[in-house]
Amino acid sequence: MLRLFSLIALVWTLAVPSLAQEADIDTRAETGGATTLEDIMRRQEGLVVDDAYRSDLTGDPDAAAATTDQLGTLGGASDPDLWRALRYNSADITTQTRGPAVTTLMQDGGMSWLLFREGPLLKIGVYLLGGTLLALVLFYLIRGRIRIHGEKTGSTITRFKAFERFGHWLLASSFIVLGLTGLISLFGRKVLIPAFGPEAFSMLALGSKWVHNNISWAFMIALVIIFVVWVVHNLPDRTDLRWLAKAGGLFGGEHPPAKKFNAGQKLIFWSVILLGGSISLSGLSLLFPFEFNLFGHTFSTLNSWGAPGWFGASDLPYPLSPQEEMQFAQLWHALISLVLTAIIFAHIYLGSVGMEGAFDAMGKGEVEEQWAREHHSLWVEEVLNDKTAPTKEA
C-alpha cells in the first residue's frame, strides 16, 4: 500500500510541472487576448514583442465591444478600439496644425532609434575611428615613411592644376568641418555634456548645427567639381589589377606601374563619390525634414526582392511613419559618415606624413619627377610624350 502511495506521489510531482507548462502556452487566453506578463517582460528586456494581437484589432467593428456592452458606449467603435488605433497610428486623425507629420501621434521607431544612437552607434564610431588611427600609427611604426627610392632629379611635373586643387581643398576643408561638427552633435549628450556641462554645450551645439547645415552646400558643390574633373582618370582598367596584386608596392620595394591615379587612389575616389553622395542625399532629407523620404520605398523594394532573407533577417519595416524616415536618415547619415571618415584618415596619412613628396601634389601642384616615375610611371610617360609631341612634329 505504501508503495502504491509512493508511486502516486511520484507521478503527481512529475505531472504537475508539465501541466503547468501546458497552461503557459496559451497565456494570451488567460488575459482575454490582452497583454500578458511575458509581453511586458520581453518589452522590459528590449526584445521584440509581437503586437499583432493589438495592432490588428483596430478599425474592425466585429472586434469592437458590442454597443450593448459596458464598453460599447461609442457604438461600433469602442474606447479601447480608439486608443489602439492611436497607439498604432491607424486612427483617422485631423488636426488644426498644418505641417508635415502632424497627424502621427505615436510611432514605435523613436525608442529603438534612441537606443541605437546612444549605444551601438557611438561604439561603432569610437572603434572605427580609433581603430583606424591606431592601425595607421602601427603601420607608420612598422613600415615607416615611404621614401623616394631613386635619386631626385630636381625637376618637377605639374600634377594638379589650380582648379583641381581648389576643388580638392574645398571638399577637404568642408569635410573636416562637417566631420568635427557632426561628431560634436553625435557625442554631445553622452560625452560633451557630462564633460563641459549643458550651458557650454548648448552654445557649441547651436553653432555646430548652423555650421554643419550650411557648410554642407560647399561639400556638395565640391563633390560635383571633383567628380567632373577626375572621373575620366578614375575609370578602372587592367593596370589596377596589377597594382592591387602587388598591394601598390606598400610592403615591397617595387612600385607597380600606374596612370594618373593608381588603384588605391581610385578606390578612395569612388568611396568619396558614392559614400559622399549617399551622405549628401540623407543629409538633404534631414536638412528639409519630411520633404522627401528615402527609406520606406527602399525597404519595400528590398523586401520584394527578399533581400533581408539572404542574410537570415526578417523583412525590413514598411510602411514607415515620417518620423521613422528621419530616424533612419539620421542613422544612415552618421554610419556612412563614420565609414568615410575612417577612409579619409588613411588618405590624409598617405598624402602627408606617410609618403615623401605626396603632399606637394596638392600643396604646390608640382611633384618631383622621380616621385612621379616611382608612383605613376605610366602617367609620367603620357605627360612627357605630350610635351615632346609638338617638338617632334615641328
Partner: protein, 44 residues
C-alpha cells in the same frame, strides 16, 4: 597654397550665401517645421 586659400574663402562665401539664399526664399528647416500662427478660437 593659393588654391587652398581660395577654397577657404569659397567655403565661407558658400556657407553664408547658402544660408542667406535659403532664408530669403523661405526654404529652410525652420520654415518646414515651425509655424508662428496660433490656433485662435473666435471671441464670443
Amino acid at each position: 597654397m593659393k588654391a587652398f586659400l581660395l577654397a577657404l574663402v569659397a567655403l565661407v562665401v558658400i556657407t553664408v550665401g547658402a544660408n542667406q539664399i535659403l532664408h530669403r526664399i523661405g526654404f529652410s528647416a525652420d520654415a518646414a517645421t515651425v509655424s508662428s500662427n496660433n490656433v485662435r478660437l473666435p471671441d464670443e
